[in-house]
């Protein structure tokens, strides 16, 4: 084990330890807040696989997130007793379907065109979910009860705020390790080479479009998982989360935290949510917190394009 690895894994374990202990000492509100940051972080991380590692900015992650949410809601409403694992499976299935559709069409285009088409496609899903009231509940969304945590024949317990946090933490940490492994695998290397020089990657003989489709689908799966977790955490699925705003937030998390670092987007999500909470506490609920956040966002693009964790990019990816 090299020195770099030692420091890295010590840091990783320390952060996980802090996150495990945190809900035990924090008041309930902040414990839930932390759980949500982790979920948003997972969503942002999934989109980082595209933005940071493949060089494709997706403005359509709300579709994957929302389909994950609605898939889980559907499974929970139609099975009794509601089963957590079925919900996750259904959510991932929904997100994978959406991701396949988006990936198949929008990877035909590059750069800004890709960004625009992902945005338009996510809006298709929004329109469908919003207008198909019989199935999706339309504007009101779907409300369900949180499933128990169960492993057949062994445990079957109700989630509390703390155990829910641990469950989310386990999945987010697992996803992080998986994504990290993916980005360091030969497959991840090809993605990074697409980012650096697409024409050359194609010339070497890699089927670039296939790689891109797989990348979008992987990213969509992780975003779907985030959607499932958000649904389970809050016990509802609402069309608002399929709307463009969620995709926009995801991009903001990435830019704030630092693209191409995987950890950065989580930090960005935390920074964004904390700043929002702070602003609305100081200036009241009605305060348009997105105005100062937008200004910060633009300033970061101009003056600090690598984001908050950009300085550590090389070190984190070693």
């Amino acid at each position: 084990m090299s020195r770099h690895d030692k420091i890295y894994w010590t840091g990783f374990c320390a952060i996980i330890a802090v996150l495990i202990v945190a809900p035990l000492v924090l008041p309930v509100f902040w414990a839930k807040f932390l759980t949500e940051i982790l979920i948003w972080g997972l969503l942002a991380m999934s989109s980082d696989l595209l933005i940071g590692y493949t060089g494709m900015v997706s403005f359509g992650h709300s579709a994957f997130f929302g389909l994950g949410m609605y898939g889980a809601a559907g499974a929970l409403l139609h099975t009794s007793p509601p089963n957590l694992w079925l919900a996750i499976l259904a959510g991932l299935g929904g997100a994978a379907g959406a991701a396949l559709f988006v990936a198949y069409f929008s990877t035909r285009l590059r750069d800004i065109y890709f960004a625009i088409t992902t945005l338009i496609f996510s809006q298709i899903f929004y329109v469908i979910i919003f207008t198909w009231t019989a199935v999706t509940g339309g504007e009101n969304g779907l409300i369900f009860t949180r499933p128990h945590f169960n492993i057949p024949f062994i445990v079957d317990v109700r989630f509390t705020t703390v155990t829910m946090h641990w469950f989310v933490l386990a999945l987010v940490a697992g996803s992080y390790l998986l994504l990290r492994r993916i980005t360091r695998s030969p497959f991840g290397m090809v993605l990074q080479s697409i980012r650096e020089n697409e024409a050359r990657t194609r010339a070497i003989g890699y089927p670039v479009q296939h790689y891109k489709i797989v990348a979008v689908m992987l990213s969509g799966l992780f975003a779907g998982l985030a959607g499932v977790l958000y649904g389970v955490q809050n016990e509802f699925a609402a069309p608002d989360f399929v709307y463009f705003v969620t995709s926009g937030d995801t991009v903001i998390f990435n830019v704030l935290g630092g693209i191409g670092t995987l950890v950065g987007p989580i930090v960005g999500a935390g920074f964004f949510q904390l700043l929002r909470e702070l602003l609305s506490r100081v200036f009241g609920e009605q305060f348009p917190y997105l105005i100062p956040l937008g200004v910060v966002f633009i300033m970061m693009i101009i003056f600090l394009p690598q984001g908050l964790l950009g300085f550590a990019k090389r070190w984190l990816n070693r």
Binding site: F59, R108, I112, T117, I120, T131, L290, I301, P305
Partner: protein, 298 residues
């Protein structure tokens, strides 16, 4: 056979004609929005995410000036000018520092701008929709309908603005600067064209077109802080279908898509008719990703 005859007898041809007129009118407004977007993209390589918000600001400024002066045409001119100035200022503040960087940075920056403008509108004007009174209250008869002259006037005005803009690009000095910059930025700079100011000017022009269409559209629908996203989405679809950066193509695509949506809303609700434009987009991406209305690349 009889069923076919029956079908044609029941077919709502009058409705079809009305929807044709409607489609062309919305298509021309959309063309005005989209040509601003295309202009900015074609010349600066900037996808202006904030274009819909400039449209919205135009509509709101129209509401404000109309309330103050009571004259719609004055409101149209003042709001257009103000949106142009706003656009120029935003370009200097946020996009100029990004010249020469990856175009993705500019899409993010304009996205930030759209957030700020949208929330500013929400904060300043509140969540309740506003209305703009139609400046021309007279109607003519189209079958059984009283069709407002105002819509026809809008179509004419949009055409006039786009036409005037085309003449401007073709014959004026600034227009020639713009075209020179599009062709070769470095060479244009070497010939003494102030390229950064051309960019600012182009952004201001595009913003003005968005602002003008916002005021023109105001009386047809309601003015609220979220109206921008709908329009910018449609404009994006139009721009992709028409071929990015291709002015004629986006005008054709704007009318084509609006017509299709108008026809579709004979049979389904308008909120579902939107799906037609999505389908057109998907088919375009499948079979002609460079755009429907561009010559086949050799």
């Amino acid at each position: 056979m009889e069923q076919v005859v029956q079908y044609f007898q029941d077919f709502p041809f009058d409705l079809l004609l009305i929807q044709t007129v409607n489609g062309i009118v919305t298509g021309l407004i959309l063309a005005l929005v989209a040509s601003g977007l295309t202009l900015i993209f074609g010349i600066m390589d900037v996808v202006n995410f904030a274009h819909g918000e400039l449209f919205m600001m135009g509509a709101y400024l129209g509401v404000v000036v109309l309330a103050a002066t009571g004259n719609f045409w004055l409101a149209l001119i003042v709001a257009t000018m103000m949106v142009a100035i706003l656009g120029g200022a935003l370009q200097i503040l946020t996009l100029r520092p990004l010249i020469g960087r990856d175009p993705l940075n500019t899409i993010l920056a304009t996205f930030g701008l759209s957030l700020i403008l949208q929330n500013f509108a929400l904060w300043e004007f509140g969540p309740v929709s506003r209305k703009i009174q139609e400046p021309i209250g007279t109607y003519f008869t189209l079958f059984y309908l009283q069709y407002p002259w105002y819509r026809i006037v809008i179509a004419g005005l949009s055409t006039a603005i786009i036409g005037g803009f085309w003449l401007f690009l073709k014959y004026s000095k600034f227009g020639i600067w713009i075209r020179a910059t599009t062709q070769d930025r470095v060479m244009a700079e070497a010939m003494g064209i102030p390229v950064p100011w051309v960019y600012t000017g182009v952004f201001a022009l595009g913003a003005a077109m968005a602002g003008a269409s916002g005021v023109l559209f105001g009386p047809l629908g309601s003015v609220n802080h979220t109206m921008g996203l709908d329009w910018v989405l449609k404009a994006f679809i139009v721009v992709v279908v028409g071929g990015m950066g291709n002015l004629g193509g986006s005008i054709a695509a704007a009318i084509f898509i609006s017509l299709l949506e108008a026809y579709a809303s004979i049979w389904v609700s308008p909120s579902q008719a939107v799906i037609v434009s999505f389908v057109v987009l998907i088919l375009t991406l499948l079979f002609r990703p460079t755009g429907l209305f561009v010559a086949t690349p050799k």
